[in-house]
Symmetry: C2
Subunit: 315 residues, 2 copies
């Protein structure tokens, strides 16, 4: 089902800086919903830019961020967060008075620190993070409904223009997203447990398997349907993006990893000592958590994530 | 697509002891493929037995394992592995000469030790493990194609009758499974990394979230689409079954957990020291592992496990 069309555009000119999974999904959603009258696509990677043009994701295409920024009343930064500081410095002189700058980075405290100092007076900074994505990357990976029924978190610094925040909120709501406002610090703590730690653990277990002696490793691939393959999905996420996440949300990630490690030590001890009741109790509590996520509509209830239907279709 | 029908049944009377996800899937697959002429369903849980009968999963139903065993030329034990010893002792006197006893337990060394001593001379023991499943339990959760394109591992003790092994192989192949034979010890080592450790880690991270202060926990549910929800699927698996797996494959699980912990410590160190290159290299290696699993047909290539199609259908 396509996104419903707005009666009038919210922005005249949207500049998307970076056209990977998220940038290209915004382009498609903005076109489908009519949230932006025109879209400028900017990417320093010429191949990605050419691909975006071939896909018809915007009305103009440039590798020069000042060209993109000069036309826009909304600029959304959609590149790995490690590149933000340099990018903000480069685009700042070109930004129009009254323009809004936002982003989609998975960490927010570091982003505010890297970007805000560069922005000129009269430009509104409304950082954001769509809690949505897939394991695929690049302009071809995006789709218009990626953000539907997903949360979009805004972390405007204190004193940000209310009207600018409201416009960004309306923009994401046009994509079917639920918008929530919180502080960058709180965002980074919550996402450390809901997103960063799961990615870290998945990368680690898949890494452990990758290090196994060759004969055992080939069997891991073969028998991965026993549970292992669930982890490989998020461990296939974009390496540059995730390197930057861990480098820019170090404290919160290490804090949550510390809790995880304490719990894992306790669990290890239960296994070593043969504490069946302790294991059973834990495994019952965790079942309840999934039920709650299903009730909140943030997960499919289809067995195996609905892989069965997929697999049957594929045959 | 239903399972193809065999020209003639492989077994006259199949007894399924335990009618949960796996037992009820075998019943459906055996009926659909015609691999067994008649099916006796046995469960000590009267509610599960009544439900199996309402679903029409077999031709007769009993809570008495000796009744089930007395009629069967193939008995498959489909209960948590902690219950095997007592069950084997109870059914042993009723087993017919020439009958085959198999199982579907996720550990094999302990199973052989618990079951083999009870079985009378002339009964063939061919332990097995289908590397397939979903997060759902009970007679309603099963489906006939659960085993299609999945591996089924057989671990017959040395000296097992070749003809009996061949018949069990043919039975699982009739369900579309690929059959592999290995030693119980090797099975337990491979499954420790492909299945037991992933479950352990998933239970642990979901447990860590369950222990968070109330306000933070509600946000974890809300923003679970950031990665966390992938872990909740396998952490929703049957608690009794998994308690028994960890208690009965202790050594191999603790060995693999040791490797995982070493790797996690190294990863933690990379984050603390800001080793971006180390992180990038690891995250690139793990991506390749998923590609291999996709190539081997053990996973769907649909983004997000195909959840997108599910979610769109559900709207």
């Amino acid at each position: 089902m396509p996104l419903p069309r707005l009666p009038a555009p919210l922005f005249k000119s949207l500049a998307l800086v970076g056209v990977g999974l998220i940038g290209s999904s915004i382009a498609r959603a903005a076109a489908q919903s009519g949230a932006a009258a025109t879209i400028v696509i900017c990417d320093h990677d010429e191949a990605a830019l050419a691909r975006a043009q071939a896909l018809g994701l915007g009305q103009s295409y440039t590798s020069d961020v000042t060209v993109a920024a000069a036309q826009a009343d909304l600029v959304i930064i959609c590149v790995p967060v490690g590149a933000y500081g340099k990018l903000a410095a480069a685009m700042a002189p070109a930004l129009r008075a009254g323009a809004i700058v936002s982003d989609v980075g998975s960490v927010k405290t570091a982003v505010v620190a890297d970007v805000a100092p560069h922005l000129p007076e009269g430009v509104h900074f409304v950082p954001g993070h769509p809690v949505a994505g897939t394991e695929y990357s690049g302009p071809d990976a995006g789709f218009a409904t990626l953000f539907r029924n997903r949360w979009h978190i805004l972390t405007p610094p204190p004193g940000t223009d209310e009207a600018a925040v409201a416009k960004v909120r309306a923009f994401w709501e046009a994509f079917g997203a639920y918008v929530e406002v919180m502080s960058p610090e709180h965002h980074d703590l919550v996402l450390a447990i809901t997103s960063h730690l799961p990615h870290l653990i998945a990368y680690n277990i898949v890494g452990t398997a990758a290090e196994l002696e060759e004969s055992l490793r080939s069997e891991v691939l073969k028998f991965s349907a026993g549970g292992f393959r669930d982890f490989t999905r998020i461990a296939a996420s974009d390496p540059t993006m995730w390197r930057d996440v861990f480098l820019h949300n170090k404290e919160a990630v290490l804090e949550m990893l510390g809790r995880f490690n304490e719990d894992l030590t306790a669990l290890q001890r239960m296994i070593r000592r043969g504490d069946g009741q302790g294991l059973f109790d834990l495994f019952t509590r965790t079942r309840a958590i999934r039920r709650s996520i299903l009730q909140q509509g943030q997960e499919t209830a289809a067995p195996d994530f609905g892989r069965r239907a997929q697999e049957t279709d594929g045959e």
